[in-house]
């Protein structure tokens, strides 16, 4: 990989005649400006979603009702629903795909911009009404207390009022935005690579985005159909999910998870891509087993489409169906293992510098391993009969998302902020942010496995007194984690306003992909004449 970009030409900035002021952003068709807007959007909603999680943990800090009044249990469900949807659709996806994807796909493949710049603008601006509707749903009527999975019939006959309709429309808009982005990214990656950059020379971050956008393109229409049927069941008298009139509530679960399982890989594959770049850069070595790494992601994507019902082991499927989903789910662990071992092999023999992005990447590798192995436990349906809908599952998916995907986001941010802003973060603060987060998230999520083993169900506002010990620890952990998030906001503002200025390739010999050949900050227009990749 490393020498593949040797012949690339650096591009000079050149005068830019586009709109300025607010028009520059509102009308933007520039992949970098749109990427920046996505990153700011993700940061804002990350704080909002994080704040809601603190409210959840305050309520659960001790047995009995803490924050909410006795009897106000529905509000708790509204919090967990909003937290889940915001973190998935308004933090992780906008940051990894809209943010880093927009910024770095064109830079890495030597394209001047995305294939459809106006579509790109539209994708971003769909997110604003989507977010407004979701946040609005918290305040409209009683709020949507369905969980992020929005299972029927709780979401149909079980919820009157406008809140659930608003949440559904929010998902429609966010989904449309992602489908449009996916079309745009796929077209860009297939058609706008610089001469010489074959698919097999393409940086792994771009591979990760290619697989991710395919997953989105194929799974989101199914979600859209599923939630449209929710909408018509709610408002127009259809009965797709109403058993009494010939519908089937379990149909909704199949459709949701047909989207839902690929979606969880949508959240983590781009983080895989980032970690590959960071690990290679700071080890000063090319990535180990490049083709294996690329095709492991393709395999994860493909197999990810045929494992969805491992979320439904207690729904009453036939035993043979369960056996199939058990086997298929175990298979995913193989390509996932290949990723982990290839990262280790990349580091092996390297001359590793543990700058902040590398800390996040190494942290991600280990924390994701922990989440991955509990996933393997959960694949075993007889064991998951005990674990389903307990805190063990909550522990599992926070290890892969709050540590896997989110650590990937932070690795990417510290790695590229100099390229995006032209200014470098403060190393001491960055490391402090990493360690504070490590302590916070592990204190929060590790004890959840114990609560789950002891039998604590998820999505309850109050719990039997015996569960109080580990819940207290989790709550303290979450406050530390949130403090770390606030520290990040401070670091980000400080970097952008007064960070040290950096040059084109501030990481040195290990940083070999094309974005390091352009100035920092990357000029408004880059690669206007095609770089040639040997």
């Amino acid at each position: 990989m490393s020498s593949a970009y040797g012949g690339a030409h650096a591009q000079d900035a050149h005068a830019h005649h586009g709109p300025t002021g607010w028009r520059r952003w509102a009308y933007s068709t520039n992949h970098k400006d749109i990427g920046t807007m996505y990153l700011v959007f993700a940061c804002v909603f990350g704080i909002v979603g994080g704040l809601i999680s603190v409210l959840i943990r305050m309520e659960l800090q001790e047995p009995g009702m803490q924050l909410l009044a006795e009897g106000d249990y529905h509000q708790f469900n509204v919090f967990t629903t909003a937290h889940g949807l915001i973190m998935v659709f308004f933090l992780i996806m906008p940051a990894l795909i809209g943010g880093f994807g927009n910024w770095f796909i064109p830079l890495m493949i030597g394209a001047p911009d995305m294939a459809f710049p106006r579509l790109n603008n539209m994708s971003f601006w769909f997110m604003i009404p989507s977010a407004i509707m979701l946040v609005g749903s918290v305040f409209a009527g009683d709020g949507a207390g369905t969980g992020w999975t929005v299972y029927a019939p709780l979401s149909t006959s079980g919820h009157s009022g406008p809140a659930v309709d608003m949440a559904i429309l929010s998902l429609h808009l966010a989904g449309a935005s992602s489908i449009l982005s996916s079309l745009n990214f796929i077209t860009t990656i297939f058609n706008m690579r610089a001469p010489g950059m074959t698919l097999h020379r393409m940086p792994l971050f771009v591979w990760s985005q290619l697989v991710t956008t395919f997953l989105l393109l194929l799974s989101l229409p199914v979600l859209a159909g599923a939630i449209t049927m929710l909408l018509t069941d709610r408002n127009f008298g259809t009965a797709f999910y109403e058993a009494a009139r010939g519908g089937d509530p379990i149909l909704y679960q199949h459709l949701f998870w047909f989207f839902g399982h690929p979606e969880v890989y949508v959240l983590v594959l781009p983080a895989f891509g980032i970690v590959s770049h960071v690990v290679a850069t700071f080890s000063k070595k090319p990535i180990f087993g490049y083709l294996g790494m690329a095709y492991a992601m393709v395999a994860i994507g493909a197999v990810g489409f045929v494992v969805w019902a491992h979320h439904m082991y207690t729904a009453g499927m036939s035993v043979d169906t369960e056996a199939y989903f058990l086997a298929a789910t175990l298979v995913i662990a193989v390509p996932t293992g290949i990723k982990i071992f290839s990262w280790l092999a990349t580091m092996w023999g390297g001359s590793i510098e543990f700058k902040t992005p590398m800390l996040w990447a190494v942290g991600m590798i280990f924390m994701f391993t922990v989440g991955g192995v509990t996933g393997v436990v959960l694949a075993n349906s007889p064991v998951t009969t005990a674990f389903h809908d307990t805190y063990y599952v909550v522990g599992h998916f926070h290890y892969v998302m709050a540590m896997g995907a989110l650590f990937g986001i932070f690795a990417g941010w510290y790695y590229w902020i100099g390229k995006m802003s032209g200014r470098q973060y403060n190393e001491t603060l960055g490391k402090g942010h990493f360690w504070l987060t490590m302590v916070g998230v592990n204190l929060t999520f590790f004890p959840m496995h114990f609560s789950g083993l002891a039998g604590m169900p998820r999505r309850i506002p109050d719990y039997p007194d015996a569960f109080s010990g580990w819940n207290y620890v989790s709550s303290i952990g979450s406050y530390i984690g949130f403090a770390a998030a606030l520290l990040f906001v401070y670091i980000a503002i400080r970097t952008i306003t007064s960070g040290e200025r950096v040059g084109a390739n501030y990481w040195g010999e290990g940083a070999t992909s094309l974005e390091w050949t352009v100035d920092s900050p990357a000029p408004h227009h880059t690669h206007e004449t095609m770089p040639h990749v040997r």
Partner: protein, 298 residues
Amino acid sequence: MKMVRKAAGAFVAVAVAMLAMAHSASAQAGFGAPKPWQMNFQEPATPVMAEVVSFHNFLTVLITLISLFVLGLLLYIIWRFNAKANPVPSKNSHNTMLEVVWTVIPITILVIMAIPSFRLLYKADVVPDAAKVREWYGINVAGTIDIKAIGNQWFWSYEYPNERIKFDAFCGVGPIEGACFSQDATPKRPRLLATTESVVVPVNALVRLLTVGQDVIHAWAMPAFGVKIDAVPGRTNHAWFVATREGTYFGQCSELCGQGHGYMPITVEVVSQQRYQQWLTSKRAEMAVKNGTQFAAN
């Protein structure tokens, strides 16, 4: 293959031994509730749960070793290949042998894991007859009982169709708007776990449980039995258990069902045959008194 089969057999042996040990260790009645700072499963009260526990113990050892292996490699790499210790990076980026190894070894581990998993799945999921239970666990089954659990917002209703018994079980001592009294909580009747009426079953009986949802989806869960099954409107799900230990066992609804979701617990009392018969008699008398109560045969 044979070795794997043997390993699977070993699981059952360990599980049955564990169950026996649990029984002899505490001659007194079982109490199926979480304990403060608990870090593992509750003590199993059915042979299936005992197998789940031993299978899960195996899985936990396995995943701990894998995680420690990855952690160990990372720490070694950090120590050995940091820029100070190793100023000149190597350029190796391929090793086909290595890549084959780290594909094949995980596959082997997964196959070893899958075989006992499948066996346990087919045992736990398909409702057996008394002969099967005897064959698997050497338990002489004391009769077969059908119980229907109906999930309502926010309490469970139970029917014993063959006994013409039907009752509702609320959280604590009575329902108030989906909430639950906690004043009467005692160590034996824990808050948010004890119900107004218990499901009563005789020890060593084969209980066939049917679940259905009245309004939205609920899930009937009993950690010490290894049972969790959704109660879905418009379909009847089934599960089974043979509780081998007298005592009181608690569980909670395990599918989000609205605001009272945390307030519809489940209590099962496992009693001797004799006490079970007494309970049936008193329950039938109670039903007769409330002669307004209609029994709906499914």
